[in-house]
């Protein structure tokens, strides 16, 4: 008999507001009250016809017939979600030096300006650039991180020029980003950045006091100098040529509103309320700087609310974490945020070429190496890309981050939007293979997806407009 409703494969989860969210293979979702959910599972044919139609349209209900068209549609939806992982490494991070003028407590990696030896050789820089072109991806982002790369502007310049020269024949779309405190930024650098379309990414942790407490330098004026750098960059490169990232420390938790307001005051269009990962800083500082997943939620929820408040008052500012989550939940096209890919983007769509001559799967992995755990080295800079992508580390990361292999993910409705983060597991537990539900990554994202689903369920039309706008991959989700 046609049209007799049958359950399709789904996963479901109770939300704190009493409703249940269920997701289908395609990543479409529906909300149920507990009684509706019982009815859905035991006798879907008794649900109101309109609701049945909505559930069919989300592939939570189907019927017996062979539906080759619908089957193809679901397959193509799943493929679209994976496309960004499969098209080859698109984000290439070069760490030319670990030197930095700051001595941030949560930063484990940077070395003082007097330090010798934590800097990449010219040979390695050129070899890294050549490897980048071995990637199949037509669009490439090359990001310089540190330390503070502007302390060795000569190396950044060398790399950009080398890449540009080769690109005359390669014809790829290359986007350059330099992550820096901007303290060293001068007009000559800006002239160079303008010529080669280099974007700047800096750090602002919040209002002056918080920022200066988080990021100490001898003059105690890190904030002032970064803001000066931002102003110079905007003047010479344009307002949108510089973005900022913040790191949430335990000192940040008390006043997320002030942090958001600071970003609005400085005219940024994005703010990324990022948690501090448990491995970016020395273990001894954990108690001083660390905080629980729950504390981060509270901070995040308040911060997001503040961002939404500004938007409803006509100030355009996006919260990047929400953009990432909403992209997963609401968009057919994946923006390719590395940490939520399955298999992980680390070591497949992202590669890090470190000052030490080795290639790592992600920024976090090279930081882990600084704490002594060098197990995530994929190979030496200069090895063929093919070898790096097929290395034992890359293969283990892929296996460890595949949702289908992870018991804790199989029953999770968010497994279409998320996946295990093995680099995180390695940092937290010293192994890639750990039951996912034990990881901070899992606890945090379950909570964040829960929170966003509750937002969506009760959102008015204007808020939904904003959420769909944020969900578009063009929102330029950063790693």
């Amino acid at each position: 008999m046609p049209y007799i409703p049958q359950l399709q494969p789904f996963q479901a989860r109770s939300l704190a507001d009493g409703f249940i969210v269920a997701t289908s293979r395609s990543g479409d979702f529906a909300f149920f009250s507990p009684s509706e959910f019982d009815q859905f599972q035991s006798a879907p044919a008794t649900l109101p016809l309109e609701f049945q139609a909505e559930l069919r349209a989300r592939f939570l209900l189907g019927d017996t017939g062979p539906h080759p068209g619908t089957k193809r549609l679901i397959t193509s939806r799943i493929a679209a979600k994976r496309e960004t992982v499969l098209k080859g490494p698109a984000l290439h991070i070069i760490v030319p030096t670990l030197q930095c003028a700051h001595s941030c407590q949560y930063c484990q990696v940077s070395r003082s300006l007097q330090d010798q030896g934590h800097t990449m050789s010219i040979t390695d820089i050129e070899a890294a650039c050549d490897t980048i072109f071995e990637s199949a991806s037509q669009t490439l982002t090359v990001e310089f991180q540190g330390g503070d790369p502007l302390i060795r502007f000569d190396l950044v310049k060398h790399a950009v020029l080398h890449l540009q020269r080769r690109n005359l024949s390669e014809q790829r779309r290359i986007r350059f980003v330099v992550a820096s405190t901007l303290h060293q930024l001068d007009p000559d650098m800006c002239t160079f950045f303008k010529e080669y379309n280099v974007y700047l990414s800096t750090s602002i942790d919040g209002p002056r006091d918080l920022h200066n407490r988080n990021r100490p330098i001898p003059g105690r004026d890190s904030y002032e100098r970064t803001v000066k750098g931002i102003e110079l960059a905007r003047e010479l490169l344009g307002h949108d040529a510089v973005a900022a990232l913040m790191t949430t420390t335990s000192s940040s938790l008390a006043d997320p509103e002030a942090i958001v307001d600071e970003y609005v005051r400085l005219g940024f269009k994005d703010i990324f309320l990022r948690p501090l990962s448990s491995y970016g800083f020395a273990k001894r500082n954990q108690i001083l700087l660390g905080y629980s997943v729950q504390k981060f939620f509270d901070f995040y929820q308040r911060g997001l609310k503040r961002v939404l408040h500004w938007n409803s008052h006509g100030v355009e500012i996006r919260e990047v974490y929400a953009c990432i989550l909403l992209n997963k939940m609401l968009s057919t096209f994946d923006a390719g945020y590395v940490d939520l890919q399955s298999p992980t983007g680390a070591g497949s769509s992202v590669l890090v070429y470190n000052y030490d001559g080795y290639v790592y799967p992600s920024d976090e992995a090279r930081m882990l190496a600084e704490t002594g755990d060098k197990s995530l080295r994929m190979g030496r800079i200069g090895e063929p890309l093919e070898n790096l992508l097929q290395s034992a580390v890359a293969r283990s990361l892929a296996v460890a981050s595949t949702v289908e292999n992870a018991e804790g993910c199989c029953d999770c409705p968010y497994n279409k939007f998320c996946g295990p983060n093995p680099v995180d597991a390695q940092a937290q537990f010293g192994t890639l293979f750990i039951p996912v539900e034990n990881t901070e990554h899992c606890q945090r994202h379950k909570g964040l997806f829960d929170a966003m689903f509750m937002e969506i369920r009760t959102a008015d039309e204007d808020l939904l407009d904003l959420f769909y706008q944020w969900a578009r991959p063009a929102a330029g989700v950063r790693d």
């Binding site: 046609p2 049209y3 395609s26 479409d28 309109e50 139609a53 909505e54 069919r56 349209a57 019927d63 017939g65 539906h67 080759p68 068209g69 619908t70 193809r72 549609l73 193509s76 939806r77 057919t332 096209f333 039309e461 939904l464 407009d465 769909y468 706008q469 578009r472």
Partner: protein, 377 residues
């Protein structure tokens, strides 16, 4: 299609001709085409007959009010009448490909018949050959053109050859693209600029299948759309605004956004009050004005997914003002009219107006003239 009463020279072939003036006959004449010479005097008529007798077998005189130079016409057997297949001055040009169909839509304006009308393919190719000026867009309609298989491809090839700059729009339910042979016959190696206009009436099988009165149609249309996408073809989805569709329209819009983001645009169309729509009046007659909120919500949903949309066959006074800029003048010239109320309307110039058979059927909403003051937002 226009029918025009004519006087026609005896013993003409019952096939496609181009209408030409007596003065231009010499410059347009070609041995492989057929011409009706539009005559206004006994002198021209005699002249045409003389030419024919002297060996120009592919010309004959015609007389008829309303005929225009360049018209592509075909005589109706046993009647002093011609059908105008194509007219240069029209804003919309289309060729009728078949009256057969594999769906049975509630509001079908062109109820299908069973008889073999394969000769229409030859007639379409002939019309394309006779057409003097390449139109920017040429529509192919039915019935269901995919039923013609290779026949449709022959028409496409003829258009590509004769009118390489013309964009073709094929109105199809896409269902037969679930058949590999049809896909290969029609799409393999097809490089001409084509757009496929495919109706979708529901966000799930039982809604769509009900509207098209055919079990399994939804799944086949979805498969067809994916096939068109895989072949890099442009798609316009078409949604006719009858009651069972309006009831699910916002959900349908979201379904399109999630699943079919590759379509170029979605056309939301007022129902043509003719054909099956008259028989299913209780489902097809709606007052669009009462559905304004539904239309706005659906448009908003499509915007969320960045999917372009437009309204067709919907007079501006039937739409919320927020949607006016999305409404197009879409009704084919020969069946487009305005109501008495439209005189004095400030936006008549940019309004689609009505299907000329609204008198026998219904209007999409109570029609009222818009005052100049209302147009200032």
């Amino acid at each position: 299609m226009r029918r025009i009463k004519v006087r026609l020279q005896a013993q003409v072939e019952m096939c496609v001709h181009r209408v030409v003036t007596y003065e231009n006959l010499a410059s347009e004449w070609s041995p492989d085409l057929r011409f009706f010479v539009l005559v206004f005097s006994a002198e021209n008529q005699a002249g045409t007959e003389a030419l024919r007798q002297s060996g120009l077998a592919n010309i004959a005189w015609i007389e008829g009010k309303g005929l225009q130079e360049g018209d592509i016409v075909v005589p109706v057997r046993d009647k002093q009448e011609v059908l105008v297949l194509l007219r240069e001055a029209d804003a919309h040009h289309s060729l009728f490909m078949t009256n057969r169909c594999n769906s049975y839509c509630l509001m079908c304006s062109q109820p299908p018949t069973l008889g073999d009308d394969g000769w229409l393919v030859g007639e379409a190719i002939d019309a394309v050959r006779h057409l003097r000026k390449s139109p920017p867009v040429l529509g192919l309609t039915g019935g269901e053109p995919l039923l013609l298989g290779t026949g449709l491809r022959q028409v496409l090839n003829a258009i590509e050859q004769e009118h390489p700059t013309t964009h073709v729009e094929i109105l199809t339910n896409g269902r037969l693209f679930s058949n590999r042979q049809v896909v290969s016959d029609i799409l393999d190696g097809l490089t001409m600029p084509a757009r496929w206009l495919v109706p979708l009436y529901g966000h799930c099988n039982f809604v769509h299948d009900f509207v098209v009165q055919t079990q399994g149609a939804f799944d086949e249309t979805i498969g067809g759309l994916l096939t068109l996408q895989a072949h890099g073809q442009q798609i316009q989805l078409r949604i006719v605004l009858i009651e069972p569709v309006l009831r699910v329209l916002p959900e349908l819009a979201a379904f399109i956004g999630r699943n079919l983001p590759f379509v170029r645009e979605v056309a939301l169309m007022g129902c043509e009050p003719i054909g099956f729509a008259l028989a299913n009046r209780e489902l097809c007659e709606v007052n669009l004005h009462e559905w304004g909120e539904t239309l706005e919500r659906s448009a908003r949903t499509l915007r969320r997914f960045s999917i372009p949309y437009l309204f067709m066959n919907a007079p501006l006074c039937a739409l919320p003002q927020s949607l006016w800029s999305d409404a197009h003048r879409s009704i084919s010239d020969w069946k487009n009219e305005y109501a008495a109320e439209c005189d004095g309307c400030a936006v008549k110039e940019s309004c689609s107006g009505l299907f000329s058979w609204y008198e026998r059927g219904w209007k999409p909403a109570p029609i009222r003239p818009i005052k100049q003051a209302e147009t200032i937002v």
